[in-house]
Amino acid sequence: MGDWMTVTDPGLSSESKTISQYTSETKMSPSSLYSQQVLCSSIPLSKNVHSFFSAFCTEDNIEQSISYLDQELTTFGFPSLYEESKGKETKRELNIVAVLNCMNELLVLQRKNLLAQENVETQNLKLGSDMDHLQSCYSKLKEQLETSRREMIGLQERDRQLQCKNRNLHQLLKNEKDEVQKLQNIIASRATQYNHDMKRKEREYNKLKERLHQLVMNKKDKKIAMDILNYVGRADGKRGSWRTGKTEARNEDEMYKILLNDYEYRQKQILMENAELKKVLQQMKKEMISLLSPQKKKPRERVDDSTGTVISDVEEDAGELSRESMWDLSCETVREQLTNSIRKQWRILKSHVEKLDNQVSKVHLEGFNDEDVISRQDHEQETEKLELEIQQCKEMIKTQQQLLQQQLATACDDDTTSLLRDCYLLEEKERLKEEWSLFKEQKKNFERERRSFTEAAIRLGLERKAFEEERASWLKQQFLNMTTFDHQNSENVKLFSAFSGSSDRDNLIVHSRQPQKKPYSVSNGSPVCMSKLTKSLPASPSTSDFCQTRSCISEHSSINVLNITAEEIKPNQVGGECTSQKWSVASRPGSQSFGKHL
């Protein structure tokens, strides 16, 4: 920014100068500001402009500013702000439309400029970043250059050292070679010297030997003798023969005979070996011909330029050789032909094999490009995938096996969950049945007990009746005995008599139990628990009777005992019902409250 400012400064100053000519009153030239704005409009500047504009036009200098603006605008190629006046004297009118147009245009321009500026700025930024990047690149490259230069120097140094070493080694090698040469020379000279010495010594030794020989052998040593009892016969039984020229010749002959025999033997062996080899060769040849013949047409086309003639030769040779092999001769011409033909065929075979090899290699090379041939990477990927799959499958199998084993342990099957459920149901049913039967039995027991109880109660009732009767009789007797009695006493007696009457009726009930059961419960209007009790205890009439009796005659101890037992049964039976009811009730408000809370 600063650079820009400085660069435009002279222009600005010149412009301001020119402007100052037009506008003497304005202290600051708006055009310069405008140019400034164009060049480097930014938010703070625009603010400045605003503040400036507020100062630019005041109440006093409207005319001047308008004229100034007109001038300015005309210089910039805008249409004049004033209406075209006919007379020069007449004061020019401000054309609002033109002003507005100008304003609009200026605004458009401004916007354009802003846009352009933005673009320029972004470009600038881009360029700046590019520049930075390039600079960094440059520095990097510079560093690289430096390092490579250093490396190069290092390598050069190493090279130099190695060369030095090499030179030294060469020198050493040369020295060693020289040394070896020297040593070899020394060895050679020593060897010659040794040989020379040896020869000398040997000569001396030989001389000495000769002398010794003369001394020892020629002295007619009597000791040198063979003392033998009698000469023995020769091993072969023949007599020894005199040495003559004949024997010499015979010996020679024999020697040669032996040699000849040996050579003949060896030749035979070699011939046999040769025959074997020939056989193998023939076989090979035949096989080669048979191998090559079906492909003859192909190679001929292919090898035409190089070995076209050879093939025709081969065909001829094939015929020839089959004839020649019959002779089984090893004369030179045959041998030559044989070797030649073999060589030719071998060449063909070789070229053929080479071609095949080439083809194979080509196929190989193509194979990498071909799509139908799987590339190695694909192959590996595929194998990897497959391996993964296998792994997964294995895991699956494992888990399945585990599950199976678990199920086997519980003697159940996964697939037969329904059956399992059935099983469970059945089991439950059975259990329930069992429970039911148990329950029933208990019930029976209870009933039996109750019956016994009732029976006992009846018996008691009977006894009591008897006892009451006794007592009544006794009271009667007493009453009869006591002639003088109060009114109160008489009332009591009435009551007692009433009681006794009811007890009488009780006795009747005991006799006909079933019919009187319902009327009792209904008449009593007993609560639910009572009705339940009656249901569970069919022999309730007696107990209810007892209750009544209790309420009536509480002072009697024997009745009290009976009462207690009856009450004990009651809560046992009813309590369960009550509690269950309570539970159901208790659970309901909880759920409701939960609902509310939620």
């Binding site: 060897a191 040989n195 020892v216 000791k223 040198i224 003392d227 023995v232």
Partner: protein, 453 residues
């Protein structure tokens, strides 16, 4: 496997007669001839001094006993015990004595190799051969006994003379292109003579019976050369062992090298069976005599490792006759196998398959191998290491046998009987016979071994 009782012996002089009927052994100055089967003494001869060398004549009728110190040779007849013959070399001295193949002549080499005297037992005639060369193996007879080749040295040059043994007539005489001839050996077919040079130079020359040079072979220069040479019984191959630890096999057609067998200290090929003798507390008693022969004591075990290193000896190279190179070579009688010993790996015997021209097996013993010899009848190798054990190798396997007896019977040498049924085991002062099972039994034993190893 059975062992005879132990008999006295001196100087390791114990030899089977060529016909396989008798066994001659020496005890000081006495020569004892026994029946091989019964081991009863058939004859007992008394010589004039301690016997240093004995040799059966080819027809098994005579035995010569050499007393080198006194320059004497005494010959005994088996058929006529009263017959005697004494050859005195007098002041000329005696360093070697041997039979001619006909069994009627004795070749005595005088001291300093002045000459060879050929004494005849049939006639009074005495022949002299001058200028015999003092070398390791200077006399060699063809197998048919017709010819003798003799190395000679005249005027600082090596010559070979070929004689006809029947009348000692010189057949051929030719100089050999050698610096210092060391040995000569006929091929078994008697038509080719191998001549090799001193150890300072690797050179082997092959001459025909008529003196023509067939071929010359040299593997390398400037180093110690040939140490041992052996013909295959078929005369097809010539094995040349040299100081570089290699055996080179030459063929009989072109006389060029077919292959060379190196003897490295490590065996890398896992296919090669290595029998390694393992130390174990010795088991004595009758168990050793019974069948199957106890072998676990020094059980040669095959190694399953891919790499097997053998015990090597660091040779002293600044002395003469360094212990390096192939010192012992022997073809099996059927020419299928070759047994070798590298002198700087003295505990090991290599067995090579000649048909396939490759290593077949390696036997590593606990102590240096003293001697080995092939069974004359079948591919079976007997090895002794100077210990009290005898080792037998066959393609089927390997076994070791403790030689029974009080104290240690240190087997220093051995020699097979012609039939391959027995062999004589020689120690310093004693010898005994070792009887092997008949072939069928041995076959099963070997197969058993093969199965076990």
């Amino acid at each position: 496997m059975n062992f005879s009782e132990v008999f006295k012996l001196s100087s390791l002089l114990c030899k089977f007669s060529p016909d396989g009927k008798y066994l001659a052994s020496c005890v000081q100055y006495r020569l004892v001839v026994r029946d091989v089967n019964t081991l009863q003494i058939l004859q007992l001869y008394t010589c004039l001094d301690q016997i240093q060398h004995i040799e059966w004549s080819a027809d098994s009728l005579f035995i010569l006993c050499a007393m080198y110190k006194r320059g004497l040779v005494q010959v005994w007849s088996l058929e006529q015990p009263e017959w005697h013959c004494k050859i005195d070399e007098g002041s000329a001295g005696l360093v070697a004595s041997c039979w001619s193949p006909d069994g009627r002549h004795i070749l005595n080499t005088t001291e300093f190799h002045l000459r060879i005297t050929v004494w005849s037992l049939c006639t009074k005639s005495v022949s002299y051969i001058k200028y015999p060369k003092a070398c390791l193996q200077g006399i060699t007879f063809t197998r048919d006994g017709r010819y003798m080749a003799l190395a000679e040295r005249r005027d600082c040059k090596d010559y070979v003379s070929i004689f006809v043994c029947s009348d000692w007539q010189l057949l051929r005489h030719f100089d050999t292109d050698t610096q210092d001839l060391t040995g000569i050996e006929w091929a078994p077919n008697g038509c080719v003579l191998a001549v090799w040079d001193t150890c300072l130079e690797y050179k082997i020359l092959l001459y025909s019976l008529d003196g023509r040079l067939l071929s010359a072979y040299s593997a390398y220069e400037w180093s110690l050369g040939i140490k041992s040479v052996a013909w295959s019984p078929s005369s097809q191959f010539l094995a040349v062992g040299s100081y570089d630890g290699k055996v080179r096999i030459l063929n009989h057609v072109t006389w060029k090298m077919i292959t060379e067998f190196g003897h490295p200290a490590t065996i890398n090929n896992p296919k090669i069976v290595v029998y390694k003798e393992a130390e174990k507390s010795p088991q004595l008693g009758l168990g050793c005599l019974s069948f199957p022969p106890h072998r676990a004591g020094a059980g040669p075990l095959p190694s399953s490792e891919s790499k097997f290193s053998l015990q090597t000896l660091k040779p002293v190279t600044d002395r003469a006759n360094p212990k390096i190179g192939i010192g012992m070579l022997a073809f099996s009688p059927d020419s299928y196998f070759l047994a070798t010993r590298n002198d700087n790996i003295p505990n090991a015997v290599w067995v090579w398959d000649i048909q396939k021209l490759r290593l077949f097996a390696v036997l590593e013993q606990l102590s240096p191998v003293r001697a080995f010899q092939w069974d004359p009848q079948q591919p079976r190798l007997a090895i002794c290491t100077g210990g009290s054990r005898l080792y037998l190798w066959s393609p089927a396997g390997c076994m070791s046998v403790q030689v029974p007896g009080e104290g240690d019977f240190a087997v220093l040498s051995l020699c097979w009987h012609l039939s391959g049924d027995s062999m004589a085991l020689l120690s310093k002062d004693h010898f005994c016979l070792c009887f092997l099972e008949t072939e069928a039994v041995v076959g099963t034993a070997c197969r058993q071994l093969g199965g076990h190893t």
